[in-house]
Every structure is written in C-alpha cells, then in structure tokens.
C-alpha cells in the first residue's frame, strides 16, 4: 500500500476511484516538532501533525493562534518573510522539505496555495492560469497550454463562466470567481497538496458555498489543508481537524470526533463558542 502511494506523484493518475479509507491512513505530509519564530518571537510551538492524502485537513483556532503561520511552513512561504525562522522536520513523501537543500521554488510547484484575499495577477484570465505552467516549462506548445488552462478552469468550476472571455483581466471577475480563478491557478501547476488560507473569509455566503463544494470535489484528487475561522465550514468540508491555541496544537483528530467529543477542555470551549 505504502509503496504504491509513494511512487504515485500525479494525483490525476490515481483518479477518483481511489480508496478514501486507504488514503486516510497514509500521511502525505508528516510534521515533527515544528517551531516558527518571527524575529526571535516564537509563534508556533512544537507542532507535530500528519496530513493525509485525498482528504481535507482543517486548521481551526482563535486569531493569532499560529494556524496560518503553520500552514505557510508547508510550502515554505515563511522563507519570504524577513526574520522568520522555521525549525523541525516536515516530511513530504519521505523527504524533509524544511532542509536547506530543498529548493522552495520546486516545493511550491508541488504544494499550491490559495490566499485569504483573492489575488489574481493583473493579467488576462488565460495568462493567470498559464503563468505557472509556463515558468515551470510544463508545456511545449500552445495547444497543450490551452488544454491545461481549460482543465484547470474546469476543475475549479469556472470554465462555463469564463470560457468566452479568457482574454479579459482576471481582476474583472467577481470576488468568488476570482478566488476560484486562484484555485485554478494553483491547480494548473499540477500540485499534490493545496493549502488554503481562509479562502472564504472575504466572500459572501453563496460564493462561500461554491468554494466549499469545490473543495469537496478537489478532495478526490488532492491533499488539502485549509485554515478557517468558521467552525461550521471546518465541520462541513474537512475530514480531519486540528485545533490550535496560542501557537500550540491542542488537539487533532477526525472532524466528527473533534466536534462531537473533543478530548481537551479548551477545544470544547472554543467549538461551543465560549471564547475565540
């Protein structure tokens, strides 16, 4: 089981029929004792956390609890912040991605990210999607690129809405569409993991519902980690949930178990709305 999963880097190849039960046993990413410091100030303390393939892992917790910071360790976006330091081991398919000899550029082509605020490039819709494949040299000719753009937009559920106006600027779309465009942009470089940092916090409920549907759909192909403020959202979309508080991982488990019978007192207080 492990060997087949380890060699299987392209989630598209395994298809939708992959056995979820199996996928949940095999951790795609395994974090051990991750600490993050911002200019000497510790923001994340000794977090050890497995992230399973073909499932959604939700990170919840009150503001400033380090969940976003932790998420940014998974594609080494913390490297771009001056004074940020990450210690600990993060294994992805057995390789420590936190080691200095791993190039973050290559890592980020395997671990895509979607941000809190939709941030499409100020270019055409087409170029937004095509940018990643172009810089990574994933395509040889225009047709291949067209195919990737279409496939990515289809997977992000945006194709029907934008197929006639691919040359229009990405910023001309509505907020929800922009966020799906950003998801399509992340998908286009064929990642295995998609990180989402509160992807719905700037969207209205209808757009949020569409994104949530989309996440549920994407779960069949990708390993997804989502940071969310909304506990309902975590309950709706995720299979596993991790509760962070003051930089510590308090509790981690199946979503059902976290929301129905949390082991920790703090988790229970938080999900029942007693603080946060």
């Amino acid at each position: 089981m492990d060997t087949t999963a380890q060699t299987d880097h392209d989630p598209a190849l395994t298809g939708e029929g992959a056995d979820q039960a199996q996928a949940l046993v095999y951790p795609r990413i395994n974090c051990q004792d991750v600490n993050v410091f911002y200019s000497g100030k510790q923001a994340v303390f000794d977090v050890s956390l497995p992230v399973f393939d073909r499932s959604v892992t939700a990170l919840i917790g009150p503001s400033g609890c380090g969940k976003s910071t932790f998420l940014r360790c998974l594609n080494r976006m913390n490297d771009t912040i001056d004074g940020a330091k990450v210690t600990g081991d993060i294994f992805m398919d057995g390789e420590n991605i936190n080691s200095p000899d791993v190039d973050p550029v290559l890592l980020r082509s395997r671990v895509g990210m979607v941000f809190q605020k939709p941030n499409p490039f100020p270019k055409s819709i087409y170029d937004n999607i095509a940018y990643g494949p172009r810089i990574h040299g994933l395509v040889d000719d225009r047709q291949e690129l067209d195919a990737i753009v279409e496939k990515s937009l289809r997977r992000a559920g945006l194709w029907q809405e934008v197929k006639d106006r691919l040359t229009q600027p990405g910023t001309s779309l509505s907020g929800g569409q922009q966020q799906r465009l950003c998801i399509a942009r992340a998908i286009a470089v064929r990642p295995e993991v998609i990180l989402m940092d509160e992807p719905c916090s700037s969207l209205d409920p209808i757009a949020t519902a569409r994104i949530e549907e989309l996440i549920d759909e994407l779960r069949k192909r990708y390993c997804i980690v989502i940071v969310t403020h909304s506990m309902q959202q975590a309950a709706r979309v995720s299979q596993r949930t991790a509760f962070f508080h003051l930089g510590h991982l308090v509790e981690m488990g199946d979503t059902d178990q976290i929301f129905t019978s949390p082991r920790e007192r703090r988790t229970e207080d938080y999900i029942t709305g007693r603080f946060g």
């Binding site: 980020r108 605020k117 940018y131 992340a186």
Partner: protein, 522 residues
C-alpha cells in the same frame, strides 16, 4: 410664547457645539482656497510676466532686399573658393551697406557718415549670406534676395522698447516752406502747440529730447519751436517729400548724447522701414542659430542640442541605475544595518545642494578621469548623480505601492523571486517609476550650478554633434544671456526661458501619456 421643544437633536448646547465645528470646517476650507488661489496667482503671474517679456523677441527686424552680388566686391582677387568667399565678410558687408546707402540720394558721402550708417547692420550679420554663396558660387553676379537682421539698437528702437519714443500726429494742412539752408524747412501747424506743451512737461534736465517729423520715408528733426512755427532739419528725403503729406511725429525723450542710436540712424531706419526694406519678421533664428555676441544674431540651437545630449546621457545612466538599485534594495536586499545605512544616505544625498555635485564632477570626472571639459558627457554624468537619489526614492515608493499579495501569488505558484519581481511587480510599478524618473530628468534639465562648474558655460558657436563636443545647456545659456549688458538680451533671455519651459512641459506631458498607456495595457 412657543419655544422649540428641547430634544437631543435640537438642544441649545448641541447646536452651539455644532456651530463651532461648522465654523472650523469653513475656516479650514477658506485657508485651503486662499493657499490654492495664491499658488495659482503666482503661477499665472510668472508665466504672464515671462511671456510678456518674451513676446517682443518673437519677431525682429531684418533688411529684406534684392541685391546684385557683384563679383569684384565679394571675390576681388577672382578666387571663388569657398574658403576665400567666407573669409571676405568685409566685401559682403560693404556691398550690402552701400546698397542701402545708395537709397539716400542726398546724403553726404563722407567716411564719418558711412561709419554712422554702418551701425544699422552688424558686420557678422552677413555671414549666412557669405556661407550661402560659398556653398553655391554660381550665385556670384546674380541678383539674390537677402535677409539680414538689423543691429539690436535699431531693432529695439523700431519695436519702441528702447529708447522709448512717444508718437504724435500732426495730420495734413501744415504750411511748409524752405528754411535758410538747403536741408532746413519751416513748418506751421496749429497742433505744434501741443507738442510744445508735452516737451515742457518732459522737462530737459539731462538734455534736449529729440522731436522727429515723419512723412512716409522722409524724416526731419526739430531745431527750434515757437508757438505754431517750427524750424526743422531734414535728415532723410527732401522738402518735396513733406509737401501735402499727412505728418506723423515721434518724441524721443532720451537726449541723443545719452543713447546708443543717433537721430540720423533713427531717421534712416524709419525711412527704410516705410519703404518696406526693413521688415518685421518671425524671429526663427532664435531657434536655428547658435550663440553670438550680437543679440540679433544669437540663437539657442547649440544650447537646445547640448541640453538634449546631456539629458540623453543623464537618462541612460540614471534611469536604469536608479530603477535597478531600487529593485535590489526593495525586493532582494536583506533588511539589516547596512541596507538601513544605505537608505539613510540615499535620502540624505537627495538633499545635497546641486553645486556640490558640480564640484565632484569637476574634481573626479575632469580631474581624475580626465574627461573633456564642457562636454555633455560630463554634464550628463554629473546630473545623473544628482537625480539618482530622486529616481531611487520614487522607484522604491512605486515598488512598495504594489500589493504584497501579488508577490505571494507569484511565489505560491512557484515563481522564483526574480520572476515574481520582473513578471508581476515591475509591470505594476513601472508607471510610477517612470513618473519619478522623468520628474528627475525635468529637474536635471533645469539645473545650472553643476554645469557651470564643469565648464558648460562656454561660448559655443557650433552645434555639438556628439556627447564629447563642447556644449552648453539651456539654463546656462539663460544665465549667461541674462548677465549681458545690452537691453536686447532681455527679451531674448525670456524667449529662451519659454523654450526651456516648453521642453519641461513636453516632458511632463510625455510622462502623463506613458502612464496612461502602461496603466491601460493592464
């Protein structure tokens, strides 16, 4: 008695407080309007003052006539080589002068009068004619139409700007009779009384003002005036020219001994003007000639070209250097003590007086590296150093204005830092960078002090053809023309200021257009 009900919305205390706040609002708006009005007024005043001064330099007076280029005058020894022709300026000059002189039939032909007459046109004014003939020797012995600027004194007088002349009108009906000498006449006219009264009003502390009477191309000068009878000395034309013509007159308040132009010269100039030989034409030579010691021959072409060459060097050095320095500092350099120090120093550098950069250029570029003096290359480099801090600061501000989410978005799809900057940040920051760069260039275009120190204040009679030729720049030309003594330089200087301002406005318009273009592209 029905007093209004006291509600929270109309209580006396709240209303009073509100009135005070409203008054503060109004006061603030008034201050703003006053400041804005003052700035606008100053700007309009400045532009009007300069334009008004420059307006008299828009046209100038030239002698326009047809002349036979006699071979024995311009190539006396028969050698028609271009060098010989251009060397024989004197021949051309006397030819032109004598042609004009011949138009005054009853003029005594003495060396003194000829010398006086020569002051109408400066010798060097015929140089373009000589060059034209040298280029095309077949013109010799042909009749050609020539256009030669008159000397600045004549030009200024004809423009009524210096010495000032007060016109009056006698009209027809004067009784004219011959005086004692052949060139004297006696004139009776009732209007002469008013001339007498205005003469007394002028007073005669420094000397007697000149009164001239003009009938078409004939001019006479007042010698004595009693009530309605006046004695005149005829300066140009003869008695018959005055008979039955409407008479005009001019009072030149400055006495003859105190001015650079004599009554006789005035008379000649007026006569030639009424015959249509001296004409007022657009002053194109201001843009097409180079500098000269004679105001009527001087132009700003060499300075315009010099300024453009200097700007070329400045732009090619300062813009890429400044933009790349800004990109490095803003996007790549680690934020530590060293980069902080560099940043502080760049900001300080922007406040260093420009003359210090001139000294630096003089010692370093001219002294140590031995670059040529007075060259646009050196001027451009010095000005590049001068505006570099400004370019860097504005480029950094433009980079900082790009939302960080664009960078994160690019990095998250696996772009390298370089790719994120060059593919995404730079296109967005470019219009802002461009604005800063061109505003810096505009500042450099107006700089004088550093150019003075590296010797770009030279008198340049040739249009520079490369960045290592001797050159001067527009602001330096303004500086040197403004320090000349002759009155004629004043409107010329104002005209060059207008040219410089026009260049600056053009640059700013280009900025706005480029901004629009690049912003629309996305």
């Amino acid at each position: 008695m029905s007093s209004p009900v006291e509600t929270p919305l109309r209580s006396e205390k709240a209303l009073k407080h509100l009135r005070r706040r409203r008054a503060a609002d109004t006061r603030f708006r008034v201050y703003g309007l006053v400041a804005l009005g003052f700035a606008l007024f100053s700007l309009v005043f400045l532009i009007c003052a300069i334009a008004w001064k420059a307006s008299s330099a828009v046209t100038y007076h030239v002698v326009k006539t047809d002349i036979v280029l006699e071979a024995d005058r311009i190539v006396p020894d028969g050698n028609a080589s271009p060098e010989e022709i251009t060397r024989n300026i004197e021949g051309f000059y006397t030819l032109v002068r004598d042609d004009l002189f011949a138009k005054f039939a009853n003029l005594e032909d003495t060396p003194a009068v000829r010398k006086d007459f020569s002051a109408l046109i400066d010798r060097l004014a015929v140089l373009p004619l000589a060059r034209r003939v040298a280029k095309n020797p077949t013109l010799i012995d042909q009749t050609v139409s020539i256009q030669v600027p008159v000397s600045d004194d004549v030009d200024l007088f004809l423009k009524r700007s210096s010495p000032r002349s007060i016109p009056f009108r006698l009209g027809e009906g004067a009784q004219i009779s011959l005086g004692q000498g052949t060139d004297e006449m006696v004139l009776r006219h009732p209007a002469l009384e008013s001339v007498l009264s205005s003469l007394t009003a002028l007073g005669s502390q420094q000397g007697a003002p000149s009164v001239l009477v003009i009938a078409d191309s004939a001019v006479a000068r007042l010698t004595d005036l009693q009530d309605q009878t006046a004695g005149f000395e005829i300066l140009a034309g003869d008695l018959a020219d005055f008979q039955g013509k409407p008479l005009k007159g001019l009072i030149v308040a400055v006495p003859e001994s105190n001015r650079t132009i004599s009554d006789l010269q005035i008379a000649w100039a007026l006569a030639l003007k009424s015959e249509g030989i001296i004409r007022r034409v657009p002053h194109t030579s201001l843009l097409t000639s180079t500098d000269s010691t004679y105001p009527e021959l001087a132009g700003s072409l060499a300075a315009i070209v010099g300024s453009l060459l200097t700007m070329l060097v400045t732009g090619m050095v300062a813009i890429p250097m400044g933009i790349f320095a800004a990109i490095f500092l803003e996007e790549f350099a680690p934020k530590n003590r060293l980069t902080q120090l560099i940043e502080v120093n760049i900001n300080n550098l922007a406040a260093v007086p420009s003359i210090v950069f001139g000294l630096l250029g003089a010692t370093l570029l001219l002294g140590t590296f031995g670059l040529p003096r007075s060259a646009p290359l050196v001027g451009g480099l010095v000005l590049a150093l001068l505006i570099l801090p400004v370019v860097i600061i504005s480029a950094r501000a433009a980079l900082r204005a790009v939302p960080p989410s664009i960078r994160s978005g690019a990095l998250a799809v696996g772009a390298s830092r370089m790719q994120a900057v060059f593919h995404h940040v730079l296109p967005l920051a470019f219009p802002g960078m461009l604005t800063g760069a061109i505003l810096g260039m505009a500042r450099a275009l107006g700089e004088t002090a550093p150019l003075l120190l590296i010797g770009m204040v030279a008198f340049v009679a040739e249009v520079p053809s490369s960045t290592t030729d001797e050159a001067t720049a527009l602001p330096v030309l303004i500086y040197s023309w403004a320090s000349n003594a002759e009155r004629a330089w004043e409107p010329m200087t104002a005209a060059v200021i207008v040219i410089l301002l026009a260049l600056l406005v053009t640059m700013n318009v280009i900025v706005v257009m480029l901004r629009r273009k690049f912003e629309r592209r996305w």
